[in-house]
């Protein structure tokens, strides 16, 4: 599982700002890793991939700028502007330290029974 989420330990105000700057229609009551545990999975690996996300956003934003004319023509100006604005907002959230991207690998716990491992 990989998601963009609010960084941990934020104030209520920072949480609200993260929700504004982050992806639309995303909200969770707990960090991803906690949600994964809550559904009964064993977490194998948790990795903060915000650094990669920052680079990808920067690269995409640069490409949106340099290919502006072609993208506007292909996608329409409204779609182009919406995408450009979204990238800018998320970049701001990452730069402020209130948005992060997390990769979680988890597995279903094996049940040890008298019949063996299931």
């Amino acid at each position: 599982v990989i998601v963009i989420e609010a960084a941990g330990g934020l104030t209520d105000e920072a949480e609200r700002l993260a929700a504004q700057l982050g992806p639309s229609r995303v909200g969770a009551d707990a960090p991803l890793v906690e949600l994964v545990r809550q559904v009964g999975l064993s977490v194998v690996n948790v990795e903060d991939v915000t650094g990669d996300f920052r680079k990808t956003l920067a690269s995409m934003s640069q490409l949106l700028d340099t290919r502006s004319a072609a993208l506007r023509s292909a996608e329409g100006s409204d779609a182009y502007e919406a995408e450009r604005d979204k990238k800018a907002r998320m970049s701001e959230g990452v730069a402020c330290g209130i948005l992060r991207r997390t990769l979680v690998v988890a597995e279903k716990p094996y049940l040890h029974t008298s019949a063996g491992v299931t």
Binding site: V3, G22, V26, N45, L63
Partner: protein, 138 residues
């Protein structure tokens, strides 16, 4: 793909419009430059998808569910490298059509695409060996 997909909600329609723009050649060129492949939707890089593939350790008998697959990424890479079977599920048809075309080329008959809500998948308990879920609703 199912014959009778559910009627799209307002959210699904907004994503269908987004994917229509996303499918342009120019946008594809930008993804190649930023992510290393034309197929990705979201922000999962080729390198991250490769790491997920290694961690899952899937084989030809295994079934991977890519939940919220969009255009098929990163499930396509995992299935291509591991040889596993793949079920890519999402709602926007404008994402699933290119997913189906791309997966037919890269994964072949081991891949299936389904238009389905993640809360109501036509799967029984234990049918999948692994699930990947990346950048859904972003």
């Amino acid at each position: 793909m199912t014959e009778d997909p559910p009627p799209p909600s307002a959210t699904t329609r907004s994503y269908e419009e987004k994917y229509e723009a996303f499918n342009s050649r120019e946008a594809g060129d930008a993804r190649v430059a930023a992510l290393g492949s034309d197929l990705p939707n979201g922000y999962t890089t080729l390198e991250q998808a490769s790491r997920i593939c290694e961690a899952l350790e899937l084989g030809p008998e295994d079934l991977l569910l890519d939940l919220g697959a969009g255009r098929g990424w990163p499930g396509s890479l995992i299935a291509e490298r591991s040889g596993c079977r793949l079920l890519s599920a999402d709602l926007p048809l404008t994402a699933l059509r290119p997913a189906q075309e791309g997966l037919a080329r890269s994964v072949g008959a081991r891949a299936s695409v389904i238009c389905a809500d993640g809360r109501r998948l036509p799967l029984g308990d234990g049918e999948c060996d692994a699930v990947c879920h990346a950048d859904v609703l972003c």
